[in-house]
C-alpha cells in the first residue's frame, strides 16, 4: 500500500460529502473532491484542505455517466499514484408521491444514486485489486431500510445500494477490499434544510436521541471504516440515525 492513502469522495462539495472530505484529509489522506455542478463549493473544500497542509483536487464528473467516471478515475490515479478509499456519497432527491412521480424523477434519482455507485465501484475495482487493498464506503440511508412515503425513487435507490454493497463485498473480499454502507438518518444539510419546521419537528419525534445528526457524525464513521481498525468489517450497513431505525 502507498505510504499516504488517497481517497475519492463523490459529491464532496457540500453537506455530508464535504464533511467526509475534510475528515479524511485531516487523517492525512490525499483527497479528490468530486462534484457535478458546484464547482465553486468544491474548490472551497479543496482550498480548506490545502490551507490545513493537505493535498486535494477538485474533479468534475456526473457519477451517472460511465465515461465521465472512468475519466475521473484515471485522472485521480494519475494525480495521487494510488486510490485506497472510495466514498460513494453523491446523491440527489426528487421527492413526490408515487402516484404523482414522473418517470424523469424516478430515472434521475436511480441514475445518480444507484447507477452512480455501480459506475464508480466498477471503475475503481481494477486499481484496488492490483493494490490488494481497498476500502469502499457507500452512503445509503435509513429510509433504504425502513421505507419513506414520498420518496419511492430515493428509497429504491438506497435499498439498491445496500444490496450492491453486500454483493461487492462478497466478490472482492479475497482481494482485501472491504465494502460497507452507512445509513444516515436525518442529518442537518442543504437537503434537509429545505424541509418545513413542521416536518423537522415531526422527524425529531421519531428519533430516540431527540435531535438531528450532524454531517460530522457520518464523517467519523467513514474515518473508522476507511482505517485499519475496520479491517474485519465488510458487507455491513451501519446506521447513524440517533436510534431512529433499529
Amino acid at each position: 500500500m502507498a505510504e499516504k492513502k488517497s481517497a475519492l469522495v463523490t459529491g464532496g462539495s457540500r453537506g455530508i460529502g464535504r464533511a467526509i472530505a475534510l475528515e479524511l484529509a485531516s487523517e492525512g489522506m490525499n483527497v479528490a473532491v468530486n462534484y457535478a455542478g458546484s464547482e465553486a463549493k468544491a474548490n472551497a473544500v479543496v482550498d480548506e484542505i490545502k490551507a490545513a497542509g493537505g493535498h486535494a483536487i477538485a474533479i468534475q464528473a456526473n457519477v451517472g455517466n460511465m465515461d465521465e467516471v472512468q475519466g475521473m478515475m484515471k485522472e485521480v490515479i494519475a494525480e495521487f499514484g494510488s486510490l485506497e478509499v472510495l466514498v460513494n456519497n453523491a446523491g440527489i432527491t426528487r421527492d413526490n408521491l408515487l402516484m404523482r412521480m414522473k418517470e424523469q424523477e424516478w430515472d434521475d434519482v436511480i441514475n445518480t444514486n444507484l447507477k452512480g455507485v455501480f459506475n464508480c465501484t466498477k471503475s475503481v475495482t481494477r486499481q484496488m485489486m492490483k493494490q490488494r487493498y481497498g476500502r469502499i464506503i457507500n452512503v445509503a440511508s435509513v429510509v433504504g431500510v425502513a421505507g419513506n412515503a414520498g420518496q419511492a425513487n430515493y428509497v429504491a435507490a438506497k435499498a439498491g445500494v445496500i444490496g450492491l454493497t453486500k454483493t461487492t463485498a462478497k466478490e472482492l473480499a479475497s482481494r482485501n477490499i472491504t465494502v460497507n454502507a452507512l445509513a444516515p438518518g436525518f442529518i442537518e444539510t442543504d437537503m434537509t434544510d429545505e424541509l418545513s419546521d413542521e416536518v423537522k419537528s415531526g422527524m425529531k419525534g421519531q428519533i430516540p436521541l431527540g435531535r438531528l445528526g450532524a454531517a460530522e457524525d457520518i464523517a467519523k464513521a467513514v474515518k473508522f471504516l476507511s482505517s485499519d481498525d475496520a479491517n474485519y468489517i465488510t458487507g455491513q450497513t451501519l446506521h447513524i440515525d440517533g436510534g431512529m431505525v433499529m
Binding site: R126, M129, K130, E171, L172, S174
Partner: protein, 77 residues
C-alpha cells in the same frame, strides 16, 4: 524478448501459484489450474499490461484454457 508462451507462463505461475510444467495449452484455468472467476479477470488484466493491449469483455469470456490465451495474443499481432 521472451516468446509469448514463456511470458504467459510466467504470469500464470506468479498469479496462480502453479508449477510451470502444469501450464500446458490444453490446461483449463478453472478446472486444472485452480483459478476462480476473479483470478481469470485478474489474469486478463495482467495480460493486457504485459502485452499492451485491451481484451474486450466478450473476448475475455471466451478464454478457458492456456491455449486460448496464446491463440488470442497471436491473433492480435
Amino acid at each position: 524478448m521472451a516468446d509469448t508462451l514463456e511470458r504467459v507462463t510466467k504470469i500464470i505461475v506468479d498469479r496462480l501459484g502453479v508449477e510451470a510444467a502444469e501450464v500446458k495449452p490444453e490446461a483449463s484455468f478453472k478446472d486444472d489450474l485452480g483459478a476462480d472467476s476473479l483470478d481469470v479477470v485478474e489474469l486478463v488484466m495482467e495480460l493486457e499490461d504485459e502485452f499492451d493491449m485491451e481484451i474486450s469483455d466478450e473476448d475475455a469470456e471466451k478464454i478457458v484454457t492456456v491455449g486460448d490465451v496464446i491463440d488470442y495474443i497471436n491473433s492480435q499481432n
